[in-house]
């Protein structure tokens, strides 16, 4: 690559100025892993990369609120930092579990959770998990800060609802005790492939009853998607095999694309079977 500028702004103002306006092809950079892949494949050629490493301390760190009810995680947090964080392992074990099959240790040492969200590739493993945890994003831009629920964040294949010049600063993740959670990564070729289907699940059980539930589908659709129809079949109900089967069936009208990992039909089928199995497992 020639003619690529690199900046490490020491303040947000400087970062915003470097990132420029709507027309600018300068890009913010987290770990740079996704950016490098796209530049190498000549998918796009930014004029400059603006590293967020030194722009603001709020982009860093993993903090559990004093009441223990939520995590605030800086966008520049690497996957490895998340993976090896004791409080995360304790309160959000599903995150730690997801890390084991996410990319590889070298990528995890470098890639950031902010870059991962902004990249908005529907095959990524963490976004559906954040979504199933009811997370939200704190953004910051020239026009100020916003809190965006993750459910409103993704706009499509590689697209988000970030405003021009806006950055992801933090991810807020509520800690909700008593939930059982799981991320199911289904690959159809090698074990180190992208998922054909990803399912992030959360289940709140009181005795036999499912009091609340989150089901998020990824990889098979153009963005991570809450499967609300299926959720509503389960919410407030006993999770009998029949009810679980009904919920799995309720995924039938989701638009799924065929690709090299499987036909649309087959992926829809995998979703049904694995969703039902995971629900069954979690409810026991």
């Amino acid at each position: 690559m020639i003619g690529l500028d690199i900046h490490e702004p020491q303040s947000l103002e400087e970062a915003f100025a470097l990132l420029g306006d709507d027309e600018s092809t300068a890009r913010p950079m987290g770990g740079g892993t996704a950016l490098m892949l796209m530049m190498k494949a000549r998918l796009f050629k930014p004029s400059a990369l603006v590293s967020l490493a030194k722009a603001d301390p709020r982009f860093h760190g993993i903090h559990l609120s004093s009441d223990g009810k939520a995590f605030t995680i800086g966008a520049m947090t690497t996957f490895a930092a998340l993976e090896h964080h004791d409080a995360i392992a304790k309160h959000l074990p599903v995150i730690t579990q997801t890390m084991v099959t996410l990319a590889n240790p070298r990528v995890r040492n470098v890639a950031t959770i902010g870059g991962n969200l902004a990249h908005a590739d529907p095959h990524l493993d963490l976004p559906p998990v954040w979504l199933s945890l009811d997370s939200s994003i704190r953004t910051i831009g020239p026009a100020g800060e916003r809190i965006v629920p993750l459910a409103d964040f993704f706009a499509g294949y590689y697209e988000t609802n970030l405003l021009p010049g806006e950055l992801i600063m933090q991810v807020h993740v509520p800690v909700s005790p008593g939930w059982r959670r799981r991320y199911v990564k289904i690959t159809t070729r090698s074990a180190h492939d992208w998922p054909a289907v990803g399912i992030a699940l959360g289940l709140q059980m009181q005795a036999e009853l499912c009091t609340d539930v989150r089901i998020v589908l990824s990889a098979a659709t153009d963005r991570p998607l809450r499967l609300e129809a299926a959720e509503s079949i389960l919410r407030g109900q006993k999770l009998t095999p029949g009810r679980i089967a009904d919920a799995a069936q309720a995924t039938g009208d989701i638009h799924i694309e065929s690709d090299s990992r499987g036909s649309a039909d087959y992926k829809a089928h995998l979703l049904k079977v694995h969703l039902a199995r995971a629900l069954q497992d979690l409810s026991e």
Binding site: I2, T33, N104, P105, R106, V107, N109, A191
Partner: protein, 162 residues
């Protein structure tokens, strides 16, 4: 100028300086300016591990890391692993287990094994398989690699006791 800079860093224990360009990767820097051959680009996508380098003690993909950011860092490559003519126990284990054929992937496997054993001194097969998931060997010396990791772990335990 922001498309070129001087980077000062430590390379295998030696203070080093180079002029790098904005788009230059770490593996390009090592090969072109320092004639180090152990980290090499194969997939170019962070998947195969042939370009593995340790930066501040963490393994990274040299093909995806911009050389720009090694300023101030401690960089270690396979060339810095042996102590003179004395091989590292991981290197010895790879020879004894025959854990390579063509050898193109070997530096990456050895450096990753180093890191694996620092985190899991006595890894299970499962831990080995997961930790080395980002290292591909087309000669498929995989069974021998698993053997080498166990052997290296045993060697390092003996050394630790001594």
């Amino acid at each position: 100028m922001s498309n070129q800079r001087i980077v000062n860093f430590t390379l295998n224990g030696e203070k080093s300086t180079a002029i790098v360009r904005g788009g230059e990767t770490l593996v390009e820097l090592l090969q072109n300016k320092f004639d180090l051959k152990g980290a090499r680009e194969s997939c170019g996508q962070g998947l195969c591990g042939c370009c593995t380098v340790l930066v501040n003690g963490s393994a990274v993909a040299g093909c995806l890391m911009l050389a720009w950011f090694v300023d101030g860092a401690d960089v270690q490559t396979i060339e810095g692993l042996a102590n003179g003519n004395n091989l590292d126990p991981v290197q010895e284990a790879f020879i004894e287990a025959g854990a390579f054929q063509c050898g193109f992937c070997t530096s990456g496997f050895i450096l990753m094994t180093k890191k694996l054993l620092s985190e899991h001194p006595d890894p299970s097969d499962e831990e080995i398989r997961h930790y080395l998931i980002g290292n591909l060997c087309r000669c498929s010396a995989y069974p021998e690699i698993i053997e080498a990791v166990h052997l290296a772990a045993a060697k390092m335990r003996v050394l630790a006791r001594a």
